[in-house]
Amino acid sequence: MIDAARDLLDNYWVLMPVKVLAVLAIFLTFPLVVGYMEHKVMAHMQARLGPMEAGRFHGVLQLVADGIKFVQKESIIPKAADKWVFALAPAVALIPAILVFGFIPYGPDLVPIRSDVGLFVTLALSSVSVIGVLMAAWSSANKYSLMGGIRAAAQLIAYELPLVLAAAAVAMQAGSADLAVIVERQGWWGYIVGPLVIGFFVYGTAALAELTRPPFDMPVADSELVFGHLTEYTGLRFAFFLLTEYAGIVSQSAIAATLFLGGWKGPFLDGPWWLAAKVLALSFVVIWARSTYPRLREDQLQSFAWLRLVPVSLALLLVVGFLKVYEVGI
């Protein structure tokens, strides 16, 4: 029976849909879980209860209800908007966010799409999402959106650099850009023990900024820009952007866990559950940061990236290189 299943799975045309379905399932569940977590964790951190009604038990179905609501909403395209770009922007943001999930090693031999440059694939895909944001910003024909877009562009350029440099430090340490290999070369404690812990913080901060999550949410700063590039979006398109955001949290958490925290490895019984636990823990930290820190000012944001994170990540690259060349184990 198991052998038969294995044989069946060896067939490419059987395996492919299975992989696609699995990735889609992950894509559709984890962001929702994180979204719900954000509702609840943030509420409790503010001494509130958060959603309590939908789904009877502590509002577990709140996001499903939200989804149903979004579907029913009218989809409005502003008159002055560039219709095609406006309509395409959510897709451009969403599709790379889905694809990222295909390259993450979920367990030993559980990599939907294995690539020996998996690290760069994920980075490349998340940088494509940015284009979607810029398209949305410009095509809305709205000053607030445009300003949000400008901020987003400036911020994403600034934080892309430390992000890639920190990831490169890991690739250097592991001697591979293949995410599966990177996980295999780590102990279950990951790279967090050693100089790469700095890389973890740099990567985490930069990823937070890439996701334009608070405290780096200048591009959507609701107190000054209404909702940045999302101002003119309604209904399903808006929901897609939200989904992209939560999928981004999950995928960045997964990449960070893979790069620095030992991925699917754990103290006992290695497997996808460890990755899931780490992803949820990191998502919690993302939400925690959101409910703790106020938004940075634009100039603070820029100077923090260029004057702090970039030099630190360059120095880290140097240190890791030296340790690697002179074979000082980490």
Partner: protein
């Protein structure tokens, strides 16, 4: 100072994490009713019987949102003299869409016809429906909480005072009768005491024991059972003199009488009302106990008096206080019945009361009744002895209202909203109850 900055960031994280582990401040409103303070300004209730159509409220209302219509009526003179005219209320409505809840109308009404009720869930989809007419305003009256107990040492309200006087008169008569009986049969004092005071016999055996012997000795004061301390002090007269004295001031920690609370909740009272009443009950009892303890400490060391306060015959409590003169009255009148309902609510309603009907309501809701917070339940006595108009009204105001199920079902079926149906059903119930009382009262007297 980068190091310090970092510490601040961590501290911030600590604050949010700590908040997360603490219970939330959220109130689950529609599921959990808000815990409103007793004097909340929810809606204005009208007790139309009290209203004399003086128009003060309508004139003082800053929003001019009270509408009153009335007509004059000639009342035939009782005995001679000319006919009097009097105003009869035709319409009384408050437009809550305009009302700003300033409370001036409630303050200004000289006849206690307007009251604040804490009900607040009367939002409507149509603004005209926010104009509450007389019948709606009347239903709100059923949720008006009982007035706070009077302060210790406050002057009694008139009706209660007159009730007390009447009660004393009855007591004196009863005492005289007992005297005569005793005089007629001096050799058997014990049964006489038992006859006049069955309650006393049930309490402390020792007290009862002394009681049987003392009456003949201390003839002038008829209250044998209470005389135990007096007798041991050898000064029965002292007992009579202290009778008029006000109960000693006692301080009591606030608390809640669980039994009352549970019972009221079971009876369908709102949580807030039940709590308030339970608190009142607790305070009354606790004060009585404390007073009894004081008195006991002053006169004799016997620890007996504390127990009776909780027992079914609380008439003993003031006895321990050394206020015997007034007591016999409460022995004959169903004082026990008024105090007892805390444990067994509906049963004693019929206990030997001449006016039967009023105390029936009374027994169901003792807490709302005795505004002084005095366990001798002079309020009941007032009802029994002198059911004056004012007292009767006060009584109606505090009827324990239940929902008339029939009306309720009918209205719900007719598509009325739940709240309206409940209110109207309540009104229907109250009407029936009052009618029943009137009939019962008529039959009794």
């Amino acid at each position: 100072m980068p190091a310090l900055k970092g510490v601040g960031l961590l501290k911030g994280l600590g604050v949010t994490l700590k908040t997360m582990t603490r219970p939330a401040a959220t109130r689950q409103y529609p599921h959990v009713k808000p815990d409103l303070p007793a004097r909340s300004r929810g809606v204005i209730a009208l007790i139309e019987e009290n209203c004399t159509v003086c128009m003060l409220c309508a004139r003082e209302c800053p929003d001019w949102c009270i509408y009153i219509d009335s007509h004059k009526e000639q009342v035939a003179p009782k005995e001679g003299g000319r006919a009097r005219t009097r105003n009869l209320l035709d319409r009384f409505a408050i437009d809550f869409a305009l009302c700003m809840y300033c409370g001036i109308c409630v303050e200004v009404c000289p006849f206690d016809a307007l009251h604040w009720s804490p009900e607040f869930e009367y939002a409507e989809h149509q603004i005209e429906k926010l104009t509450h007419e007389m019948d709606t305003l009347r239903t709100w009256a059923y949720s008006v909480p009982a007035p706070d107990p009077l302060e210790e040492g406050a002057i009694e309200p008139k009706e209660i005072e007159s009730a007390r006087k009447a009660r004393e008169a009855v007591a004196a008569k009863a005492a005289a009768a007992a005297e005569q009986a005793r005089a007629a049969a001096p050799p058997v004092p014990a049964p006489a005491a038992a006859a006049t005071q069955p309650a006393a016999a049930t309490t402390t055996g020792a007290a009862a024991g002394t009681a049987t012997t003392t009456p003949t000795a201390a003839a002038p004061t008829p209250v044998a059972g209470d005389a135990a301390p007096a007798a041991s002090a050898g000064a029965a007269g002292a007992g009579t003199t202290t009778a008029a004295a006000r109960p000693a001031d006692v301080e009591v920690e606030p608390g809640i009488d669980q039994a009352t609370y549970d019972r009221l909740l079971a009876a369908g009272e709102s949580d807030r009302t039940a709590r308030a009443k339970a608190k009142a009950a607790y305070m009354r009892r606790a004060k009585a106990e404390a007073r009894a303890a004081q008195a006991a400490g002053a006169t004799e060391p016997a620890p007996a008096p504390a127990a009776p306060a909780e027992a079914a015959a609380p008439t003993q409590v003031p006895a321990g206080e050394g206020a015997p003169a007034a007591e016999p009255a409460s022995v004959e009148t169903p004082a026990a019945a008024t105090a007892a309902p805390e444990t067994a609510p509906p049963a004693p309603s019929a206990v030997g009361t001449p006016e039967g009907a009023e105390p029936a309501a009374d027994a169901r809701d003792p807490d709302a009744r005795s505004p002084e917070g005095d366990p001798t339940a002079s309020g009941t006595a007032a009802e029994v002895v002198a059911p004056g108009a004012a007292a009767a009204q006060a009584d109606a105001e505090h009827l324990e209202i239940e929902v008339d199920q029939e009306t309720y079902d009918r209205l719900i079926e007719a598509g009325e909203p739940e709240r309206t149906a409940r209110a109207k059903a309540k009104a229907a119930y109250a009407r029936k109850l009052r009618a029943a009382q009137r009939d019962g009262g008529g039959a009794g007297s």
